[in-house]
Symmetry: C2
Subunit: 349 residues, 2 copies
Amino acid sequence: MATKRSPANPILDPSSVQPSQDDLEVVGVFNPAAIQVEEETVLLLRVAEAPRGVPAGQVAAAVLDPASGRIEVARFDRDDPAVDAGEDSRVFTARGQTYLTSISHFRVARSRDGIHFDVAPRPSLVAAEPLEAFGVEDPRITALDGAFLVNYTAVSPAGIATALAVTRDFVSFERKGIIFPPNNRDAAIFPARIGGRFCALHRPMPDGIGRPSMWLAWSDDLRHWGDHRMVAGPRAGRWDDLKIGGGAVPFEVPGGWLAIYHGVTAEPLTYSLGALLLDRDDPSRVLGRSRLPILAPEADYEVGGFFGNVVFTCGAIRQGDAVRVYYGAADGVTAVADIALADVVNGLE
Amino acid sequence: MATKRSPANPILDPSSVQPSQDDLEVVGVFNPAAIQVEEETVLLLRVAEAPRGVPAGQVAAAVLDPASGRIEVARFDRDDPAVDAGEDSRVFTARGQTYLTSISHFRVARSRDGIHFDVAPRPSLVAAEPLEAFGVEDPRITALDGAFLVNYTAVSPAGIATALAVTRDFVSFERKGIIFPPNNRDAAIFPARIGGRFCALHRPMPDGIGRPSMWLAWSDDLRHWGDHRMVAGPRAGRWDDLKIGGGAVPFEVPGGWLAIYHGVTAEPLTYSLGALLLDRDDPSRVLGRSRLPILAPEADYEVGGFFGNVVFTCGAIRQGDAVRVYYGAADGVTAVADIALADVVNGLE
């Protein structure tokens, strides 16, 4: 068995999800967190919504008004000299502020076979804090001590940060605040204490000196993090030469922790997946790293779409000799692939 | 009494300090941390050194080799197409890596009158960790629980981060690791527990969405930090419209905590100082903010020099009705000014 994309791909797309409010339409269902809970596979989908019916001459952003708690639509004329729609379909700027063209929330989806999912009719976690005013993105779920830890990207005019919430039922979520300040995303909490402490991968985003790289931090209580160390950075001339960041929550294999991560290269801008093998007791030590991607954009739903040439994972589930990787394709749809663990391990260098 | 620069300014310059090794020359003595210890004013100077005798056709950087623990000089030809000396006198790039033109360490200076300082002949804290390979910069000293907490900027190819060390005698320093990951600098730990917890200002440096702003974090043990909140950002059309960051360690005044910070505006790029009045019990609440700078570059040693139009503080000492602000001028020399607290408070809006 090599890498095996599901013939049902994409398994979820915007038509799978009801919008959260009448003036928004679902434009993306992607980058889900994934976890096995007894007989069920549970995904926490990132659902991206954009203002409905924006005229061609306008750009618009849906933004949380923290005072009212409502998602409001801000509209701007494209020919306003203070507006720059730019070339990146994900953002525009207006009056000195960068806006996102969509706002994301999380939605639960459940499945018995891991391929066909029932999507909840209502959101599970939506932007509700000033530091989430532009939405919540890219969740990861870690099962630990009988609870589900959900770390996610909180986006606002203040920047891109990593926040933590805890749930036991995927119905009520208790927010624990910002754990990694801007700009930082693509964190993943290890599913066990290591040497008695909690451990997480995270991804600071320096510019100028330093490039977006994977770091590791430690905590005694999940809310306060320290002892930050760099784990791995981009590799010149490789598929991950521009930037890298965490993907799925790491899981144990015979040689240590296997962390599936994303790597980016330019021209054309391409997001692929690879793996790091990290030392069991000191996961800041890299024991192996994928020479080539374990999954790169090839299928039409990965190469084309809202933001093409992207495969990006926030969750994978170990299944015997394979790992089932749930991933967002082209920032628009959700797909799944089964990858033989032997192939992943043999591809490490 | 208004703002009163010392007639002895600049009180310290590169000629005040012996280089740390023969192949380096001191090019800057600036941005000192400051604290009163009984009858003595103690400064922890940032001493910047550059490779000595670099030919006009070369650029060079002094960099820690973590394997040997030595500071080594890397030299590059200016006409190498892979080298870009650029326009910023503080940095250049070579073969895809950004380098600093100088490397900084910390040096103790002591004074009885707060103006005339004896500078230690040897460094107190020098780059010694991979995450300090490009040097240590911009220390702040907080006296707490009988120890001196020294947070500082650790610069390396991995980015710009905030590290913590603890000393009791300014001779031996115990490193506590990176407390705020890249890019983050200009942190300052409050000199008292607030509601039983430690509290610090810090300055994440997002790009794209978000601008360099002042944030606050909490800790139970000084090593692990969380509950990050944004405190204040740049103000459009003001002297601090481009970016802001922490300056001196905050101190108590009748209305709360007074935090002297730096603000930057462009064209010409100018670093000035102002103040925030923060709520005593919840210092993420801003009660007042300087309408105009309390100190802006005017003197010739502030306007000219290595990197002109900069006044930048890492330490201030309360003296009765005034605050004595130690500051770096033009990233090259150290100066001091006494500012009436009434003027600072009356200038808040």
